[in-house]
Structure formats: structure tokens, C-alpha cells
């Protein structure tokens, strides 16, 4: 036996019956599988990918300031249309969740009681998200649609 082994497991037999593991009737989940842990992770991925693709476009549209003022203004004026205005709304919704949930992930990783309170922190994330959007959404809609 290797000296680097932690121990041995006896083979299952009459004297060592396999432990019976039953699935719980209601899925309980773990930190990352099922329920809040998994769905916050799914949302973090979806928002992250969306923000990444906007960032690619945003670097290119901003680079037009190096082409000419006319070229930059022509493209940035499309950002002021109602459809793009709603797109900016969706972008801020995604960024708000990704930022707040990212801070929650950091707390889970580095705060000693982070994993214990990960569900409570998710509730706090959602609450702060709603507060953030309550401040942003009316203001932005007024800028886009006038009012």
C-alpha cells in the first residue's frame, strides 16, 4: 500500500453492507446543485455572456471617435432610439445582477460564514437589485422616451 494513502475502504460484502442512500422526497440541493445555488449560477452565466458580447460591440462603437465625429455621432444616435433604449435597460438589469451576485460569490469564497448564509445573501442581492433598478429604470425611460 502506498504511504501516501489516507486509508482503505473495505470491499462490500456480508460484513460490510453498502450504505443505503435514499434520494430525499423533496430535492434539498447543495451549495451549487439545485435551488438557489444553481439558479444564481445559471443567471450569473447568462448575464455574463450577454454583457461580454455587448462589451465587444461597445469597444468597437467607441473606437469610432478615432474615425470621425460624424461616424461616432451617427452610431451613438442609434443608441438613443426606443428599441436600443430598452436594450440599455436590459443591459443594466444584467450588469446589476452580475455585479451584486458576483459580490455574493466573493463573500461565499472568502467570508468564513459565507457558505452558511449564501441563500440569505441571495435574497439581499435580489432586494438590492430591485432598489437599484427602481432608481435607474424610471430615470432612463424618461431620458429615452422623454417626459
Amino acid at each position: 500500500m502506498s504511504e501516501k494513502s489516507a486509508g482503505t475502504l473495505a470491499a462490500p460484502g456480508p460484513k460490510n453492507p453498502l450504505p443505503r442512500i435514499r434520494a430525499p422526497k423533496v430535492p434539498t440541493g447543495t451549495l451549487y446543485r439545485g435551488n438557489i445555488g444553481m439558479w444564481s449560477w445559471v443567471l450569473h452565466r447568462i448575464t455574463g455572456v450577454s454583457i461580454f458580447f455587448f462589451l465587444l460591440v461597445h469597444i468597437l462603437d467607441t473606437a469610432l471617435v478615432r474615425v470621425s465625429p460624424e461616424a461616432y455621432n451617427a452610431v451613438i444616435n442609434t443608441y438613443k432610439t426606443p428599441i436600443m433604449g430598452l436594450g440599455e435597460l436590459a443591459l443594466v438589469v444584467a450588469i446589476g445582477f452580475h455585479a451584486l451576485n458576483g459580490l455574493r460569490i466573493i463573500l461565499i469564497d472568502f467570508w468564513s460564514v459565507g457558505p452558511k448564509y449564501h441563500k440569505l445573501m441571495f435574497v439581499v442581492v435580489i432586494l438590492l437589485w430591485v432598489v437599484l433598478l427602481a432608481g435607474f429604470v424610471p430615470r432612463h425611460l424618461m431620458h429615452v422616451f422623454g417626459g
Partner: protein
Amino acid sequence: MASVTIDAPRSSRSNGSKRSVNLEKWGWIYMRASGVVLVALIFGHLFVNLVSGDGVQAIDFAFVAGKWADPFWVVWDTALLWLALIHGANGMRTIVNDYATNALLRKTFTGALAVSTAVLLILGTLVIFTFDPCPAGTAADLLPSFCAAGQ
């Protein structure tokens, strides 16, 4: 009696070829370190560009030129460019590694990410640091007000 040997916890994967720098670990640390900074940088960016004043309606060439006349926003936007793009590209790399089961497909996507990130970082940095707020032959109403003084 047959037995199963279990490695000691935290033993290295292979004792022969140990990497001196654990890049995956530093990538993991980077996501968290840059993430904290990005929360401040992006919320500040969104507030100045979308919330304050006339919001998105106020953005045009003169608005950008006015911001970049201040070194504060040059540093802010450069940090935003580098931290956000590398953060995003590394996140996309994680997703590619999770879902691309075909080795060739994975290498293609990872390579495309590396190339596009390098190109956009160089392009974005050059745009910020070679920016001309008062290009010749442009109508004065498209330019920031401080251009008039020099003409």
C-alpha cells in the same frame, strides 16, 4: 480481501512535473479581484453616462472629448477596458471549457477569444491615447467648446 486505495487529501496530481505557477488559480483570483474594482468602475460609468444630466441623449463626440480632456476619465476608461475585457474573456474561456467537449472546437474558441481580446485591448488603448478632440475640417458644433479657443 480486496481493498481500494485512496490518495491522501491535497496530494499533488503528479509529483514529477509540478508547475511552479498555477495559472488557473491566478485566473480564479483575478475574477474576484477585478470583479470588486469593476463594480465601482462600471456603476460610476453607468451613472455618468446614463443617469446624470440628460443620460444617453447627451452622449456624442463632444461629450466623449470633454470627458477625455480630464486625465481622471482617461485612467478610469483605460482601467475599465482592460479589467472588463480580460474579466469577460476569462469568463467566456471558463464557459468554453465547460461546454466544448470536442478538443479542436475548444482550441478554436479559446484561440478566437485570445485573438479578439488582444486586438480589442490594443485598439481600445490606442483610441484612448491617440484621441484628437479637435480634428481639422470638422463643423464646430460637433466639437467640444474648448476647440474654438485654439482656432
